[in-house]
Symmetry: C2
Subunit: 738 residues, 2 copies
């Protein structure tokens, strides 16, 4: 069709005359471009539709002032839309952060004077001089609230039971809400968003209900103490917000390809608020989730991510003017010899990733096949029960995972008297007689190491069963926790080695004279990056996220060494990251831009019909009747049909979509006089006049796509796949000598 003929009349001017019917029905289709659920969109078509719309508007805008305003609004609507998305994403993240932290603390106790404060905020209000980060007099555990102030086995068990009960009730509400109101709100959402951004339609996946329920259930699931994070679901929530706002701007809401630009920006904003890393968010969107990412989208994504971060910082959910709980700043350098343990951590991360991916997939497949999938509520309850039961006794698993990560990342300072920093150290006179946090490990550190080791095993195993349940569940935080624990363990080990053998050849220069040369917190951070890299196989974006978390360029090299090692080790056991694996598990169609294809086939080998099959169904351009076409539509379920000059010569004229054809035939039957079963259908410009005897002909030339993508049957498959990937084709016709 000559696309300039289509005017942008609103949908309302419906059928008036017989020729108009086809025009307007075609417009409808072009204007709304609705796709069926679980179908793939046609990028080329959508993008050229948008170009056409743009052209129309800029032509019109010269006509009147109002049109000029409309044109300007149209040009700015992309920026406006991402501004709104960023603001809303920041707002939602702030609410979720505050809510999750309050509800997490609710499991352990309450602030009786102001029940809406979490433990930390509650303790700020108190005037205790003896405040350490474990307790304060304003904050009461449940047993204390009930008037039991002695610390014995009884109060412990009471607190234990209350903890488990809260966990169970949180997760019950969460899974119940998900089950009844928004089935799509479960999981991390990133595999599905990847699929959606690659051009697939899943109706309702980014809907309003999903948004609300996922936000609420995310808080509940995190508070229930399950081994999951809210970072992945935040990306999903941000995309829901993006989808919501895109409907306010018809330019995006009505064009699936354009809408994906907003969704890319939204996913950047999601990562930005999840980790306080706007640049990392943009790179995540580029590297991990997006499919079509023009530079304009990149710039908007950046803007969106920054606005979201700015709003979240204004909300200041953690009271530390940083966007995430586990933001750190180190002041100590790292030494060259430390690359060895860092690479070891990378190996650990890769192995853990491979282990996790394998068993999680096995478990998910088992859930899908067995009868277990029928009892999601029971499953969630059991996992919550086991998690709460095992987590409470260990102080490192009892607390919120992001607090754990914060604790592990933090360097031991002179005033830190937690177990992790309990060194048998001399009191240094140059530190105002405070403890010098470097020395032989005290009993506290030894205890902490054992507890951390148990926490490592617990988290590592529980996450396998948790990810994939019917609650919102992100992977980032548990993976990072596992890596951070491993890192802290190795880091403390290296530190003790360096303390005890400062003159060993490896430590020679850096640690000579008993100088402090190892920062266990940095090892935790490197380990976290390695484990996350092993599970997701992210690379650049992960390093940048970590860089933004530490706020120092100097730690990029250790992190990168670990992440690269982790990716290579992980790839040795299986190429797929967990998200891609889940995409395949769920059977979504996804053409991975990263995979290398090693086909030696040519197009002729894989095209349909195969050699020897019955010949391809084709439509002749001027020789078929309405009835014949209808039969054809009923008999075959191809998405479209090539139109040829005649069956004998098989010269390709164009391509007609199944949807368009059946729609047009229906409309014609209903409204166009004289169209009967044996009316001829013409796909040519030249239609024989009404002089002919016989029923009135039906002209469908406009419907014909005269420029289908064609390749010859000798084209190598790699080129074909490249075409599909880069141009976002839906179909491609294979020709042999025309």
């Amino acid at each position: 069709m000559s696309q300039d003929d289509i005017s942008l009349q609103p949908f309302l001017n419906s059928c008036e005359s017989s020729t108009n019917i086809l025009d307007s029905s075609e417009e409808t289709m072009l204007e709304f471009g609705q796709y069926d659920d679980f179908h793939t969109i046609d990028w080329v078509r959508d993008i050229s539709r948008d170009r056409l719309r743009h052209k129309q508007i800029s032509r019109k805008s010269k006509e009147s002032c109002w049109d000029l305003i409309k044109g300007t609004h149209d040009a700015w609507s992309g920026w406006l839309c991402v501004l709104f998305v960023g603001m809303a994403a920041g707002l939602f993240a702030g609410i979720v952060d505050i809510g999750a932290s309050w509800m997490s603390d609710l499991k352990e106790g309450i602030c009786p004077e102001a029940f809406w404060l979490n433990k930390e905020q509650c303790c700020w209000g108190s005037n205790d001089t003896t405040f350490d980060d474990r307790s304060c007099s304003q904050w009461l555990t449940w047993s204390q609230l009930f008037g039991i102030h002695s610390e014995n086995a009884g109060t412990y068990i009471l607190d234990y039971i209350i903890y488990v009960l809260w966990a169970l009730s949180f997760s019950m509400i969460a899974v119940f809400l998900v089950r009844t109101l928004a089935p799509y709100a479960c999981g991390s959402g990133i595999p599905e968003i990847k699929t959606i951004l690659s051009g697939f339609i899943i109706r309702g996946y980014l809907g309003k209900w999903t948004l609300i329920i996922k936000s609420v259930c995310m808080m509940l699931a995190v508070s229930a103490g399950l081994s999951l994070g809210k970072e992945g679901p935040l990306v999903h929530v941000a995309c829901c917000i993006g989808n919501f706002f895109s409907y306010l701007f018809p330019k995006y809401g009505r064009n699936e390809a354009k809408k994906r630009e907003i969704l890319s920006a939204a996913s950047a904003a999601g990562v930005s608020v999840a980790f306080g890393a706007p640049i990392g968010g943009v790179l995540f969107s580029l590297e991990e989730v997006s499919y079509y990412f023009p530079l304009k989208t990149m710039w908007r994504s950046f803007f969106c991510a920054l606005v979201a971060a700015f709003i979240l910082r204004s909300i200041n959910p953690f009271g530390n003017s940083h966007l995430v709980k586990f933001y750190v700043e180190y002041n100590t350098p790292w030494f060259f010899f430390e690359l060895l343990p860092f690479i070891l951590l990378g190996v650990f991360g890769g192995l853990y990733g491979a282990f996790f991916n394998k068993f999680n997939l096995k478990w998910c497949r088992f859930r899908k096949k067995s009868r277990m999938g029928l009892f999601p509520i029971a499953e969630v309850m059991i996992v919550t029960f086991v998690t709460a039961l095992l987590a409470f006794p260990n102080p490192y698993t009892r607390e919120n995972t992001s607090i754990l990560i914060q604790r592990l990342f933090k360097d031991c300072g002179p005033v830190d008297d937690s177990d992790l920093c309990d060194y048998n150290a001399t009191y240094a006179p140059n530190l105002n007689n405070r403890r010098n946090p470097y020395g032989e490990a005290g009993t506290g550190v030894q205890n902490a190491m054992w507890q951390l080791f148990l926490a490592l095993i617990l988290k590592g195993i529980l996450t396998i069963f948790t990810f994939g349940m019917k609650v919102p569940a992100g992977l980032f935080i548990p993976s990072m926790a596992v890596g951070a624990i491993a890192g802290r363990l190795i880091g403390t080990g290296v530190e003790q080695l360096a303390y005890n053998f400062p003159d060993w050849i490896l430590f020679d220069e850096a640690c000579a004279g008993g100088q402090r040369c190892v920062t266990p917190g940095l090892y935790a951070m490197v380990g976290a990056a390695a484990a996350l890299g092993g599970v997701t196989r992210m690379t650049v974006s992960l390093v940048v996220i970590m860089f933004e978390l530490t706020g120092g360029l100097q730690y990029i090299i250790p992190i990168m060494a670990a992440v690269m090692t982790s990716k290579w080790v992980g790839d040795a056991f299986g190429k797929e990251g967990i998200y891609d694996a889940h995409i395949h598990l769920n059977g979504y169609p996804f053409l991975d831009a990263k995979e290398e294809f090693k086909h030696t086939t040519i197009a002729a080998d894989i095209m349909r019909p195969r050699r020897g099959d019955p010949p391809l169904v084709v439509i002749e351009q001027d020789n078929m009747t309405v009835e014949e076409l209808e039969t054809l539509l009923q008999e075959d379920d191809y998405n479209g049909f090539p139109v040829v000059v005649s069956k004998e010569t098989q010269l390709l004229v164009g391509f007609v979509l199944r949807r368009d054809l059946s729609h047009a035939l229906d409309e014609a039957r209903k409204a166009q006089d004289g169209v009967v079963s044996n009316s001829r259908v013409y796909f040519t410009t030249h239609v024989p006049g009404p002089l002919d005897v016989g029923p009135k002909p039906l002209k469908l030339k406009k419907m014909l796509d005269q420029s289908p993508f064609t390749i010859t049957d000798q084209t190598p498959m790699e080129v074909v796949i490249d075409m599909f990937r880069k141009l976002g084709l839906r179909q491609c016709l294979v020709t042999h000598k025309g």
Copy 2:
């Protein structure tokens, strides 16, 4: 051709039998894939060639251990190559930094005790307690060296003359070296690198001589005090290094498309060392220069950029453990009301960018057309003379531009007693009785403002004449300097306003009670970003570079606001950044991926031959003789010819490249017996046996590309351009009904 037939035999096994000739000649072509100078490469072809090579190697690697090692080496060679490139780029940058700083100071004086030290290093060695950053007793100006220690007009004039003479001699050496040894070493190189990365061949542009001469002349040109920077040329130098190392790895050296992956990584490394911004470098490579940027390249670019930064940090050219002279860290927050002056700075930056681009282009066009272009040495000498003459009297233009930028970015501290920080301030008791650098502007600040204003005008105008001369010349530093001066001026103005009217509604909250609320250094940084954005129209990468320079997330919002405003204001006057404008000026073929095309044409309108022209030259698949083909090659200068079944039916069979065809015919004439002028040429598999009378047929089936890209004549132009852009096509055949 069925590509599997081609084996990767080395070039040596040349012609043995008559059939082998064509095979081996074809291999040669496929193996080396040489393109002519000033030609465009064929991405699709090169990439599928690499895939084929990869397949061969992985097939072979199963055969023997040696092949396995070779295969592993091949797989790792990309990483190895970027490792070398990064290391070399860091090394070169370090040398250039040290050399330029030494030679710059040489204009003013010398360190007699250790002439190889620059001023700063020289003064470190001195024990002066009265050291300020202007002078120290170890460092002697030339007049002091000659024994004149009184400060009067005579010594001033002596220093002045020596300054000008040094400048002239530096620039003379630079332009002379460029003219005689490496004509491509002039300019910034970024426009050409953009063109090369988009798939154009410019032989020698990235050669060894260019590398050496550009590095040396870069130092000389910077030291001559010309209004130019070494940051752009550093990108060119890094690309030369990339080109050099790619020849060590045949995988990259012999495949132009693959080589561009290394070049993309190299350009990231170049920016990384120029600004100490590895992430910014990768984004620069992605946003500004690269054309084909798969994710694997991104990861390698990141690695390369990091290695380069790491090496440069180890060299530590500035002695401050930072990669660039003008690295800063602010500790003061910014306030919301300041967005207004920041946006003003954005407007300034956009206007300056538009002004600069317009006049620089006019001047370059004038240079090209007029006779002035014939005297490049004289031009450089005159500009140097004028620059030196005008720059010496003003302390802000006399010094190296990057030191100026550093000075402007820096915040006034209590111990800073330079002019810029000369406030009439009370001595604050809480600052150990040091000066509180906030108060009414003293005479020093007022002086400095005037001098900076003059420097702004001088730099703004001189850069127009400098950029485009026959010396290595980058734009980043002078543009940033102009912006930084403007920013500092506005910043100081706002600061004085806030000091004098602290209760004004705008300042109300932030500056109440005479509190310090404005950081002029931050304004300088925002201004620098805005001006650079206006000139180059970079966006994300610029913000990220600035972010890495300041090391703080909190200043991203001001910088982004300014850069966005600057881009929009600049775009209102002309869409092109300076690099794109220079690409057009030099007439390089460059298909900009960012431009939006507004064609309403379809392929039929622009294809060749146009309607009404003589018919397209085609080759019949089995009906032409050698002579006919030779005539055809002589008469027409198309790059290739479509092969059809016969002239009557015009059914497309394939496409043959002019180069291949003429090569094959020559070879056949020379070596294949029985090929005479009227031998028939067959592009089909089935060749009539030698039973026929007449000369021996020539089989060229293997040469035929049986899968040319085809589109129909009704395809909209946008889709065609998309195809060319995204797939990197060289040609595309337009078909009408086959």
